[in-house]
Amino acid sequence: MNPSTFDWSLIDWADIWLATQDTLIMLGVSLGFTILLGLPLGVLLFLLGPRQLLANKPAYALLSFIVNALRSLPFVILLIVLIPVTVKLVGTSIGVAGAIPPLVVGAAPFFARLVEAALREVDRGIIEASQAMGATLWQIITRALLPEALPGLLAASTVTAVTLVSYTAMSGVIGGGGLGDLAIRYGYQRFQTEVMVVTVLALLILVQLLQMAGDWLVKRAARK
């Protein structure tokens, strides 16, 4: 296809803007819930792990299995499998609202694993020193572990946000709305390549901005 033959007048910029807003809302809300659920889950995974503060082999194995099971489902399948749950939670399985539960369920286990890995990077000596100072488990988590792992946690959030952008695009399959939905309905199903090009560019810019913001935050948080 020759770009010079594109007819840019075919593009409804208001539609593009609306879809961009939808994507941003889906991304923001699902990222918020992903962190809200994934962070405690990741901390729990870390604490239950071998030689950690709450080391518990069966509990770790079970939690680990659940997380792996959720992560092994392709997101497109998860979208469909979760429809009954989504309807219960938000009253609809379509649109921006309908896309958020599967986005969170898809991304939270992924984020939890990244959190677990980031916490493992924290020097064990710091946990030991906190214990020796008489810290409670809660104090160790909130005042030592999480602040020490902050650069890693911010990097994990960035990776998760980028992953969520690609998930939001897939949610177009169930009429999730947003840029991906637009790309599929207009760009693919109606052969409007111009729309495809514009949405792809918009997604590209979004991912670039997220990564840059994330890198900047990580750099600011790192004291090493």
């Binding site: 214990q131 020796a132 100072m133 008489g134 409670t136 005042r143 004291r223 090493k224």
Partner: protein, 335 residues
């Protein structure tokens, strides 16, 4: 202050039982600097960690001021731990907190002081470890010695009665080691703080400890006043560590023994006798020539000592009694 009764601890490594502590009993007095020396893997780190129960012994008692801390519940144990400072080989500072923030950390955990009182305490501690100028720097910007000073200030924040030092100078160069040891000694004297330190270096024990226990394969093989253990090591493990240290007179004349006429004696002087002309006087008194073959003179903490190996032509038994009468310990090494 601290009494350990029959501590035992065994680790399971790949299904095998590896004993880390074997029937350890120790008494540590209030206000003293007690050294535990041993090679890596001897169990000294495990032993130190039983004092604040970072390691729980399988059996035995850990008594602090008569109280069995292994019987405490979680909250009481945390309160107990706040009264025990700990300094680590690799400092274990929080990288996201400044120097002042690190020292403030245990105060925040305890949550007993107002913000103003915490600030005042932090300023006081910064002064104590000479880091007032670095208060707002981060650990990554500090030298090893400075990091350990932060570690020490942090350990002292809650005004502990006991300070545990886990190889506190092992990651530092010799000069910095000396300055950290001096700081520990200074703290011990100013606040009457009891210090228990573990190390693999005899030099550390010699510099600041009052008493020492030698640990080998999970067992205390020897313990006592540093001068006694250092100058008269009984166990093979102690002897080899003393020999490596190179500051005690060890018989190293194997090839030359045949050429030596007379008796070999080891003379040990401690405190005031070190400064007296004992050898010359005894030589004159007995009218026998004494030759100094090997020896060292130095200090163990504040106590001057000398240990010499001398060759004596004449009556060894008489010489021995004359030396003993002058307060010099005299051992016959060979006749």
């Amino acid at each position: 202050m601290i009494a350990l009764h029959h501590l035992n601890k065994t680790y399971r490594v790949d299904g095998r039982a590896v004993p880390a502590l074997r029937d350890i009993s120790l008494e540590i007095a209030s206000g003293e600097i007690f050294g535990i020396i041993g090679r890596s893997g001897a169990g000294k780190s495990t032993l130190l960690r039983t004092l604040n129960l970072l390691e729980r012994p399988d059996s035995g008692q850990v008594l602090l001021d008569g109280q069995d801390i292994s019987a405490l519940n979680a909250a009481a144990l945390r309160a107990q731990r706040r009264g025990i400072g700990m300094v680590f080989q690799h400092f274990n500072l929080l990288s996201h907190r400044s120097v002042a923030g690190n020292i403030r950390f245990p105060l925040e955990l305890a949550g007993e002081l107002s913000t103003a009182a915490m600030d005042a305490r932090v300023a006081e501690l910064l002064e104590l470890v000479s880091l007032s100028a670095q208060a707002s720097q981060y650990p990554a910007q500090l030298s090893g010695g400075q990091k350990q000073r932060v570690g020490i200030a942090r350990a002292l924040a809650n005004q502990p009665r006991l300070l545990l030092c886990d190889e506190a100078t092992s990651a530092l160069d010799p000069q910095t080691t000396q300055s950290i040891l001096q700081l520990l000694l200074d703290i011990n004297r100013r606040f009457g703080l009891t210090i228990v330190l573990i190390t693999h270096e005899m030099a550390v024990v010699r510099a600041i400890c009052d008493r020492v226990a030698v640990i080998e394969a999970g067992e205390i093989v020897e313990s006592g006043a540093v001068a006694e253990v250092f100058l008269h090591p009984q166990h093979a493990a102690t002897r080899s560590m003393v020999a490596e240290d190179g500051h005690a007179a060890e018989l190293d004349l194997a090839g030359k023994l045949g050429q030596l006429a007379g008796t070999l004696l080891r003379l040990t002087f401690v405190d005031a006798t070190t400064y007296e002309p004992v050898i010359a006087e005894v030589g004159q008194q007995l009218q026998v020539p004494i030759s100094i073959l090997q020896g060292s003179v130095g200090r163990i903490k504040d106590r001057p000592y000398g240990q010499l190996i001398v060759g004596l032509q004449g009556d060894a038994t008489l010489a021995q009694s004359v030396f003993s009468a002058r307060g010099v310990r005299c051992e016959v090494l060979s006749a």
